[in-house]
């Protein structure tokens, strides 16, 4: 059991970051990471030792996140808490820019958002990102190119970005 601690524990901050950037809801993201870690523990013995632990754990988290996003889409629009941006003082210019960037990121289709985060932020190789998304490398490359282009156009004002919304609790 020591190998799982050594291999997985250092990944937890990155798993939280990936989940929160995808869901934009701190509680929901941490719940997802919790479920991911439970599954990682129960399936650890099934893992082929030659597979990279990071890509393997990210795959579990990614599948949970996509299920969650699909369920949310079926239930209709759900306005999520923008706490990554809200946690920062809005007076500072860099933070305003970061808020805009994260709002624009949220406008991307989930597959594009995911690949941008996996490759651009988490630093996964194209091959590992393809494994996590369960698609060929060519698909990862074209998603990445489209995601970057679209993000640029959103920030450039060529595409409209939804204004920040408040979360409503019924």
């Amino acid at each position: 059991m020591h190998d799982i601690l050594a291999a997985v524990e250092p990944l937890i901050p990155a798993l939280r970051r990936y989940a929160r950037a995808l869901l934009r809801d701190r509680t929901a993201a941490d719940d997802l990471v919790h479920d991911c870690l439970e599954r990682t523990i129960s399936r650890w013995h099934q893992r082929r030792p030659e597979t990279d632990a990071r890509a393997w754990v990210f795959t579990i988290l990614h599948n949970l996140a996509m299920n969650r996003l699909r369920q949310a889409a079926r239930r209709g629009p759900h306005v999520e808490l923008d706490d990554a941006a809200a946690a920062q003082p809005p007076s500072q210019e860099a933070h305003v820019r970061h808020g805009e960037l994260l709002r624009a990121l949220a406008e991307l289709p989930a597959d594009q958002r995911s690949v941008l985060l996996l490759v651009g932020v988490e630093g996964l190789s194209y091959a590992d990102a393809a494994r996590v998304q369960g698609v060929p490398i060519g698909t990862v490359m074209s998603r990445l190119s489209r995601a970057r282009e679209r993000l640029h156009r959103l920030l450039d004002g060529a595409l409209p970005v939804a204004p920040p919304a408040l979360r409503s609790i019924k």
Partner: protein, 266 residues
């Protein structure tokens, strides 16, 4: 010169700094001759760096205790030990009788020590089991999950309080994102209990079971799990509470704390 044409994939790989040196030199040479493309690529590099900077604070946060891997591993070990300990208790009586008879027949004087850990017959463990059973029966019911709806709260409160012979208040969990759906009286081996149901914006349902306790009348909050269904149970001043949902312990714990706070104040 028969240089391979520069592809969009090459440009992405340049942004991600994963080109081998020879190809990188070719891409840089191309970009020097195509300032429009160079501007676009530079913009994408800047965008990647900004995205990293915007999200970096999340990875710098201290990891919540509920996500500590060592703690999750311990909890799993405990659950397994608990299940192993209960295996005998879960067997039908006739199997136990045969086992005892066999051991006695073998002259094993230890035959009567088979008591082991009996199935929970009362106390907090029984309450937790009853709440889990009620959760399994009532939350999947789409048509009639509750008998009296939230709008009929005064009648529900009267009904449950009369049956329990104890004034019962409905905890308000709207601040935690859970809406009160309604409730009913359910039968348990230890008399009537009040079952309250809540749900959140995602449609996740949660139940709270409340009944008087004959034993273990003041007990600290404890986590229990049965597959994906988890719960927190405790007792205060003779009344037992069990909060159950198919949700991570990290989600349930603050809800249980809030219910305990409100019921203790009431």
């Amino acid at each position: 010169m028969t240089a391979r044409p520069i592809t969009e994939d090459d440009l992405q790989a340049h942004v991600d700094q994963v080109l081998d040196p020879a190809r990188r030199a070719e891409v840089e040479d191309y970009l020097a001759r195509h300032p429009d493309v160079a501007r676009r690529v530079a913009g994408q590099i800047r965008q990647r760096d900004e995205l990293r900077a915007a999200l970096a604070p999340i990875a710098e946060e201290p990891v919540p205790a509920e996500l500590g891997l060592a703690r999750l591993l311990d909890a799993r070990r405990d659950r397994r030990a608990h299940r192993a300990g209960r295996a005998w208790g879960a067997r039908p009586a006739w199997q136990l009788a045969i086992a005892a008879a066999v051991l006695l027949g073998l002259g094993g004087v230890g035959g009567w020590s088979l008591r082991g850990a009996p199935a929970p017959s009362s106390g907090i463990a029984a309450l937790a089991q009853e709440a889990t059973d009620s959760y399994r029966v009532y939350t999947p019911d789409r048509a009639h999950p509750v008998e009296l709806r939230a709008a009929e709260q005064p009648e529900l409160v009267r009904w449950v309080s009369n049956q329990l012979q104890h004034p019962v208040a409905i905890p308000d969990l709207t601040a935690a994102g859970y809406r009160f759906m309604g409730g009913r009286v359910v039968a348990t081996a230890h008399g009537p209990a009040g079952l309250l149901m809540y749900d959140d914006d995602h449609g996740t349902r949660m139940v709270v079971l409340i009944r008087p306790m004959a034993i273990e009348r003041d007990t600290a909050m404890a986590l229990h799990a049965s597959g994906p269904v988890r719960g927190y149970s405790w007792a205060a001043r003779g009344i037992g509470y069990s909060v159950v949902a198919a949700a991570p312990a990290a989600t349930l714990h603050p809800l249980a704390d809030e219910i305990r706070r409100q019921t203790a104040a009431g």
